[in-house]
């Protein structure tokens, strides 16, 4: 195994592109190192991204958007004074990942690139309309987060490509987002169903919305029908019934050791209603 510490993403991409065997990028390492320890993967090239300038930075652009470095940990995200006010759903989703110790290392980018349909931060990023900057042999491109996962453990990144930053749009006025997951315990668990809702209001009326579901399909799902169920409503009982139905209709889960398909489908609706309620109240400026 060769361990690399590139100083730029271009260099990281070059190493990955020229590698002959299995390549893994190392940021927080909370997935990769565990996979190595349990023998699931033995990389030939392990490319540590943490030495690249900016990897630990959270910066706000003049338009109000955010750029989050690939090595920013869940703990750093949670402690940032402004980001949690703008995107509380994204921050709360990331903070659900793992233990306190894992929070000190785990990253949003890693959570995305691990390719798990149950990744907690990914539905929140999708609902927020987040984009990743991808650096590869042919330069840099920007890709919506929902286009990155392609199936369990699989992403749309091609060999030689590396995520070099994560971009959140400006929050703007009268917006709110939220994320919840269902787990049998209270922490230290993996989502049986996850749901994120991001919406903006015009007065009391929902003007725009994005709804994403986790762990109910091979990838995290963006559910336009669930968003459509909200838009134009005052978040009344009818809207709640519609988003629950839309979420259940979109879910196509499997039965496995963590839950039955029937259970996941039902709970997808329950969570969609509950999370939309929190997002709506946040958009109204209520404390939740």
């Amino acid at each position: 195994m060769r361990y690399h510490t590139p100083q730029t993403f271009e260099e990281a991409a070059r190493i990955a592109a020229t590698g002959s065997g299995t390549t893994r990028f190392l940021a927080g390492g909370t997935d990769v190192l565990v996979q190595m320890r349990t023998g699931l993967v033995t990389p030939d090239d392990l490319i540590d991204l943490k030495h690249i300038p900016g990897a630990y930075d959270i910066t706000q652009a003049p338009d109000g958007g955010w750029q989050i470095g690939v090595a920013v940990s869940g703990a750093a995200l949670g402690e940032h004074p402004e980001l949690g006010r703008a995107w509380p759903g994204v921050v709360e989703a990331m903070e659900l990942v793992g233990s306190t110790q894992v929070q000190g290392r785990a990253t949003l980018t890693g959570n995305l690139c691990n390719g798990s349909p149950a990744a907690d931060s990914v539905p929140a990023l999708v609902a927020a309309g987040a984009v990743v900057r991808v650096t590869g042999p042919d330069g840099t491109r920007e890709v919506p987060v929902e286009e990155i996962p392609e199936g369990p453990g699989k992403t749309a990144l091609v060999p030689g490509e590396v995520v070099s930053a994560l971009l959140l749009p400006p929050r703007g006025a009268a917006g709110g987002d939220a994320y919840q997951r269902f787990i049998p315990r209270t922490e230290m668990d993996i989502a049986v169903v996850g749901c994120a809702v991001n919406l903006t209001l015009d007065g009391d009326v929902i003007r725009a919305a994005r709804v994403a579901l986790g762990a109910v399909a091979p990838t995290v799902l963006l559910v336009p029908d669930a968003a459509a169920a909200l838009v134009g409503s005052h978040w009344d009982d009818g809207a709640r019934a519609r988003i629950e139905a839309a979420a259940r209709a979109a879910a196509r889960p499997i039965t496995d050791k963590r839950g039955t398909a029937e259970f996941r489908t039902h709970v997808a609706g329950v969570l969609a209603g509950r999370v939309a309620d929190i997002a709506y109240r946040r958009a109204k400026g209520e404390q939740t």
Binding site: T38, G39, F182, P184, R185, T186, E187, M188, D189, I190, V192, D256, K257, R258, G259, T260, E262, F263, H266, V267, V270
Partner: protein
């Protein structure tokens, strides 16, 4: 209240002294199984079957042996032949012979100069398998067309014509059960199922074994019983038992699972083959879950008859349990405990011990009793609700007391179930008002407690402090409780006594710390050994004073004349006697060997308050109360800790723990992510009440407290869920998908 019975005449017994192991544990200095190392030590790894049931056609280790640094590979061919009975079972479980019997069954082991190299080498061992049909469910395993796991394994108890996977059969009871049911106003019969659960000790199995060509060996190991490890390893390897010396490490939890051996004999076999170099073997969590002993899974029928006032007229239990691919599920104990809290004129028990393609079951805290209680106490609760009776009053109406014949046969001596129920009734938790979707469940449980082979040796040091050599590893506070009892008996401060858990060369045989026995049996033996030393110290004083030794008594740490007629001498302190002992006859010590008599059974009653989310089926435990008879709490912190620990393990078993097997017979959740032990934030404070109805068979009244606490939680939680939702779940675990499905099926009705 029972507290009134307790004599408050003790200086130390009953006080909350510091834990003797506390500083080492909080500073990380305590040495656990994996912390031991030796010069020249090799590291072992085990190759395991990926199949639930497969004939081993061939094993080719040539690629592993070709690696530089690989020193030995062992297979079953390196272990002696001709073992019988449980020795054969243990050997077959430690290393598969002709057939791999479960997913994770060891087939070969390797020793190498580094742990990484050993793992790589284990992966290079090529095993050719012929996959066989498998069965993992107990009811499936009893079907006539089920795959036969070991033809001819049934013992003499099994009547002709039983399915071939039934290897033991139990039948006992008394009275006319049918007549009892005929007298009842309400008769109900239900079937219940529980899934296998693991003890979940945090410390995985770990050992260093060393064995030379001279047949002498040593082992350092995390275990509940070093003499059991010694005997089992010696038998499995064909050694003289006394030629093996086994030293226990500090232990990171056992709960019964460390009373036997799994990979430990392989470290010795590897060491022998590697020229006597010590070999370290440490399991990872997946190995612990796949290849050490969980408890059994169960399928249970219960039938009970009751008068309209709640008087039980008859009870019948028919339990089926699989304990893996070997005999030994705790079905008999489950049956014996199921109805133990109740006075019954007619009772019938039938049990089947069944083989399945799962790992060999080991003891788990009150083996069998939680399952039996789940079945019996769930049905009693259902019938109490149907009859509109208070759950405590119903139990008081049928309560067993001193002199009553137990459901399993013997007459009870002094027991404290009535006192436990009365204490439960008046606890504030029992009257907290409940909100919507909330429910309260009550259940009672029982455990026999146990004595067993016990050897203790104690000695007085030159300054009058004392050392005690005990053979029961400290898994629940034994060092503190034994230290308190010895200090109380000697009349010295607690800090003047050191309790040492010693290796097998230092004492006669001891059974493990199991059966809730250490504070009872080792404690009683330690008191008797100490009294031998105090008699000797009285004799030394008598010699100095020139009076009859019988005229000297031991009072508060000193010898003194027994009365005015004995003569007038000032008390001679332990320090004075000890300081001079070399001149008065040499070392002063005491020892006791035997099986201490006078075991005292214990009962507990738990009250669980839960809230169920009707939209997701998620169960939150709001409040939890443990009331249990300790006999006497020597160190109450530890007693409360045992009550809380038992309750929490039971809550996990009830709600989310359980082995999940795929259609391929492989374990799907061999890790703590998907084998869901409760985490701290899942639980409320576990409230405890220590009832003390002293056991007359122990010098301080001890019954033993380790196990009874896990016996009521399964039904207590199930009864609370039934109260909260109106639906009764008869299958464990009551995880959210199951609870939600039950709620939704009720709504569909």
């Amino acid at each position: 209240m029972a507290k009134d019975d307790v004599k408050q005449a003790y200086k130390l017994v009953g006080t909350r002294v510091l834990r003797p192991d506390g500083l080492d544990k909080v500073t990380g200095r305590a040495r656990y199984g994996a912390d031991f190392a030796m010069p020249g030590m090799l590291y072992g790894a085990v190759a395991r079957s990926p199949h639930a049931h497969a004939r081993i056609v061939s094993i080719d280790a040539s690629k592993a042996l070709a690696l530089d640094g690989v020193k030995a590979v062992v297979t079953r061919a390196d272990l002696p032949e001709g073992l019988t009975g449980e020795d054969w079972n243990l050997q077959e479980n430690a290393m598969a012979g002709e057939v791999a019997l479960y997913d994770g069954h060891a087939v070969a082991a390797v020793a190498a100069t580094s742990a990484l190299l050993a793992k790589d080498a284990a992966r290079l061992i090529e095993v050719d398998y012929e996959v066989l049909p498998h069965v993992t469910d107990v009811d499936e395993a009893m079907k006539p067309d089920a795959p036969v796991i070991r033809p001819g394994a049934a013992d003499h108890t099994v009547p002709d014509g039983m399915p071939p996977n039934v290897v033991k059969y139990f039948e006992f009871g008394r009275g006319d059960v049918e007549a009892g049911f005929a007298q009842a106003d309400l008769v109900r019969e239900r079937t219940y199922r529980t899934e296998a659960t693991h003890q979940g000790y945090i410390e995985p199995q770990a050992c260093v074994g060393q064995l030379g060509s001279d047949g002498k060996g040593e082992m350092w190991v995390t275990t509940q019983g070093q003499w059991y490890v010694r005997k089992m390893c010696a038998d499995l390897l064909g050694l003289g038992v006394a030629q093996l010396r086994v030293t226990p490490s500090e232990i990171g939890g056992g709960f019964g699972g460390k009373t036997t051996v799994f990979m430990e004999p392989l470290s010795l076999a590897l060491s022998r083959k590697a020229g006597g170099r010590p070999v370290k073997l440490v399991m990872d969590r997946a190995e612990v879950l796949r290849a050490t002993g969980p408890t059994a899974s169960a399928s249970m029928d219960v039938k009970i008859g009751m008068k309209a006032d709640g008087t039980m007229t008859a009870a019948r239990a028919e339990f089926r349990m699989q304990g893996g691919a070997f005999p030994g599920s705790p079905v008999n104990e489950a049956l014996e405990c199921a109805f133990a809290p109740y006075k019954l004129a007619a009772v019938e028990h039938i049990g089947y011990d069944v083989l399945a393609n799962r790992p060999k079951a080991a003891a788990y805290r009150a083996p069998g009793a939680p399952m039996g209680a789940f079945a019996a106490e769930s049905l009693i609760d259902e019938m109490a609700r149907e009859l509109g009776l208070d759950p405590i009053e119903l139990r008081l109406l049928n309560v067993v007391e001193e002199g009553d014949r137990s459901s399993y046969g013997p007459k009870f001596k002094r027991i404290g179930l009535r006192e436990v129920l009365e204490a439960t009734k008046v606890h504030p938790n029992f009257s907290v008002p409940l909100g919507p979707n909330q429910g309260r469940g009550v259940a009672t449980g029982f455990w026999f407690n146990y004595n067993g082979d016990t050897s203790v040796s104690m000695a007085i040091a030159e300054d009058g402090t004392a050392q005690v050599a005990v053979g029961t590893p400290d898994i629940g506070g034994g060092r503190a409780s034994i230290g308190l009892m010895v200090a109380e008996t000697l009349g010295v401060p607690y800090e003047a006594v050191r309790i040492n858990v010693v290796e097998t060369g230092a004492l006669g045989i001891n059974e493990p710390t199991h059966g809730s026995r250490a504070t009872f049996a080792t404690g009683k033996a330690a008191v008797l050994a100490t009294e031998q030393a105090t008699r000797e110290m009285c004799r030394r004083a008598a010699a100095d004073w020139g009076i009859d030794p019988d005229a000297v008594e031991w009072v508060e740490g000193a010898a003194q004349p027994a009365g005015p007629n004995a003569g007038k001498f000032p008390p001679m302190s332990i320090a004075e006697i000890a300081g001079n002992m070399s001149n008065t006859g040499g070392p002063i010590a005491g020892h006791w060997e035997g099986v201490p008599r006078g075991v005292g059974a214990s009962f507990g009653t738990h009250v669980a308050d839960v809230e169920v989310d009707p939209e997701t089926g998620r169960v939150t435990v709001l409040r939890y109360l443990v009331v249990q008879d300790a006999g006497r709490a020597i160190q109450p912190d530890y007693v409360e800790g045992q009550y809380q620990g038992g309750a929490v393990q039971g809550i996990g078993w009830a709600l989310n723990e359980g082995y999940v097997y795929g259609a391929d017979g492989r374990l799907q959740n061999a890790g703590f992510l998907d084998y869901r032990i409760p985490v701290a934030s899942d639980l409320p404070m576990i409230d405890t009440v220590i009832v003390e109805v002293p056991n007359p068979g122990h010098p301080f009244g001890v019954r033993g407290v380790g196990e009874t606490g896990i016996t009521p939680p399964l039904p207590a939680i199930a009864n609370a869920v039934a109260a909260a939702t109106g639906v009764r779940l008869a299958d464990l675990p009551m995880n959210p998908p199951r609870v939600l499905a039950a709620i939704r099926s009720r709504m569909d009705d």
